[in-house]
């Protein structure tokens, strides 16, 4: 006979007490359900800034919070602050279309994005926070002969780098996603596509909240509603930051401010090769499940997936001019919806509920910068342009490594600021799966 204990609430609760304190689990859910969900503790503190930190991260989005988390977890630095102008995850982390994939052409990009994808695969467990990572596959469509050649080449390159990739014929695309219009009589017919099965989506807010909660637990101070007004330097070494909550001293600053990177670079007196532009997205009214994968099209610039709430999540393009307005132009949305309707005639009577813009910082080679700068103790993680969400965990991990060791990790060595001087660019403009 095996030694079975009676399965009752008290027993379950004792397990919870022993092992699960402060952890989210079925036991904490039962316990809080029994008390009417009135006793959940707040997920992170709301501290006032200290006078001095070992490292200050500017920007409380997914990338910034992940950086703080990995600094604390892997590099044992716990005297860290994350300074956020608004609320955490309120910028591009909460504005993207949540697509995650790693099917990039060049070796450097493949290494970077697949590193992130591997962390995504275990992230909910690691953070004890359900980030709703769903490997539903991402298809990239080809609409002309050049697309077919480029995408097939990328499929081969992906496989050589150990990244799963498959080429689908028009019929196979139709089988994988039956609502696509594969008629050869449309303006841009579907000539096939690539499929990365490990790719998919995640809940973007949960990523910020999960990293915030875990970083906070290790002692990281997350300071919201605190705007950085200046970066103080003494010669070529950083001394601290001026904020709306006063001066905070530090020897190391990691800037992860997306669209506002140039504004912060300006405060520190350095130049960046960035242009900030509005990128738009929109969601429809919620409907029953109709599309169980992510479909992207570079040539007609339309991509679509369906959220767990049932909304179609549609990504549009960037405006051609610099703007910090978080709005974007109407004609950009019009072009995207035109493309969506040609590919999915079934959506013709869908109503769009919300539309918004986020400010993305675009590099000349459409690849990010995770780098030291000419100022000692000043590090920048920027230039993610239109596709940073997918890289959140990898970006945080590699930026933390760069800050802690004052040297880049092997995987982000190519993404240094000096490549714009040396000419050793990582040109993913045409090579990336979607137009930049």
């Amino acid at each position: 006979m095996c030694n079975l204990k009676p399965l009752n609430i008290q027993y379950l609760y004792s397990i919870y007490e022993q092992n699960m304190k402060n952890k989210y689990s079925i036991f904490s859910l039962i316990k809080n359900a029994l008390s009417g969900h009135e006793n959940w503790q707040r997920a992170w503190r709301d501290p006032e800034p200290k006078k001095e930190y070992d490292v200050i991260i500017i920007g409380g989005g997914g990338h910034g919070l992940a950086t703080a988390y990995y600094l604390a977890k892997k590099h044992k630095l716990t005297n860290i602050a994350v300074i956020e102008k608004g609320w955490i995850g309120g910028g591009n982390t909460g504005r993207n279309t949540t697509i995650i994939r790693s099917n990039y052409l060049w070796d450097a990009s493949a290494g970077l994005y697949d590193h992130a994808l591997k962390i995504w695969e275990g992230l909910s467990q690691e953070l004890n926070y359900n980030v709703m990572f769903s490997q539903r596959g991402v298809i990239n469509l080809a609409h002309n002969l050049q697309d077919v050649r480029d995408l097939k080449r990328r499929t081969h390159a992906n496989r050589l780098n150990g990244i799963d990739a498959a080429w689908l014929s028009t019929e196979e695309v139709k089988k994988f996603c039956p609502i696509i219009n594969t008629s050869q009589n449309i303006r841009y017919p579907v000539l096939g596509g690539t499929l990365q099965r490990r790719a998919g989506t995640a809940r973007h807010d949960a990523v910020a909240w999960g990293y915030a909660r875990s970083a906070d637990k290790m002692g990281v101070d997350i300071i919201q509603n605190c705007e950085v007004k200046g970066i103080r330097r003494s010669g070529d070494q950083v001394e601290g930051i001026e904020t709306t909550k006063g001066f905070i001293k530090t020897k190391k600053i990691g800037v992860v401010a997306a669209g506002h990177s140039s504004v912060l670079a300006n405060m520190a007196g350095i130049r960046l090769p960035l242009e900030s532009k509005p990128l738009q997205a929109l969601v429809s009214e919620p409907v029953k499940p109709i599309i169980d994968t992510v479909v992207m099209s570079n040539a007609v610039h339309a991509y679509v997936s369906q959220s767990d709430k049932g909304e179609l999540v549609i990504g549009a393009g960037t405006d051609s001019y610099v703007s910090y307005t978080q709005r974007g132009s109407h004609n950009i949305v019009e072009e995207t919806l035109r493309a969506i309707l040609e590919l999915y005639p079934i959506f013709s009577r869908m109503k769009m509920l919300r539309q918004w813009g986020g400010i993305v910082d675009i590099c000349p080679d459409a690849s990010p910068i995770i780098s030291k700068t000419q100022v000692k103790g000043l590090y920048f993680n920027c230039g993610w342009g239109t596709g940073g969400f997918k890289a959140t965990p990898g970006s945080g991990d590699l930026f933390a490594h760069t800050i802690a060791n004052d040297e880049p990790h092997r995987l982000n060595a190519s993404f240094n600021l000096n490549r714009f001087v040396s000419g050793d660019l990582v040109d993913e403009h045409g090579a990336a799966a979607v137009a930049h």
């Binding site: 504004v263 960035l274 610099v322 000419g423």
Partner: protein, 91 residues
């Protein structure tokens, strides 16, 4: 979305125009004597200002002429429009 007052055609919707980026970046006069740092500065580094920015626009779906615009990038309000070769009307 905003209206641009083309100096040749008058007020038109922004979607008729194409933005050519930061204005008044001079092509190096002695390209062969430039260092790598100077090339990087000329080719890639941009002010990317949040606020008043000077930029070039082309009326691509109209007269196809280039001109300069002074625009506040924090609210897309246009403060001045002036022709190529002219001095900016405001600092």
């Amino acid at each position: 979305m905003f209206i641009i007052n083309c100096p040749y055609c008058g007020e038109r919707d922004q979607s008729e125009f194409s933005c050519g980026g930061e204005a008044h970046i001079e092509r190096p006069k002695q390209p062969t004597e430039l260092s790598d740092d100077q090339w990087a500065e000329y080719l890639f580094m941009r002010k990317n200002i949040k606020g008043i920015q000077f930029e070039r626009w082309n009326h691509i779906h109209g007269c196809r002429k280039w001109f300069n615009v002074v625009r506040d990038t924090s609210n897309d309000k246009i403060h001045a429009v002036y022709k190529m070769g002219e001095r900016p009307p405001i600092k």
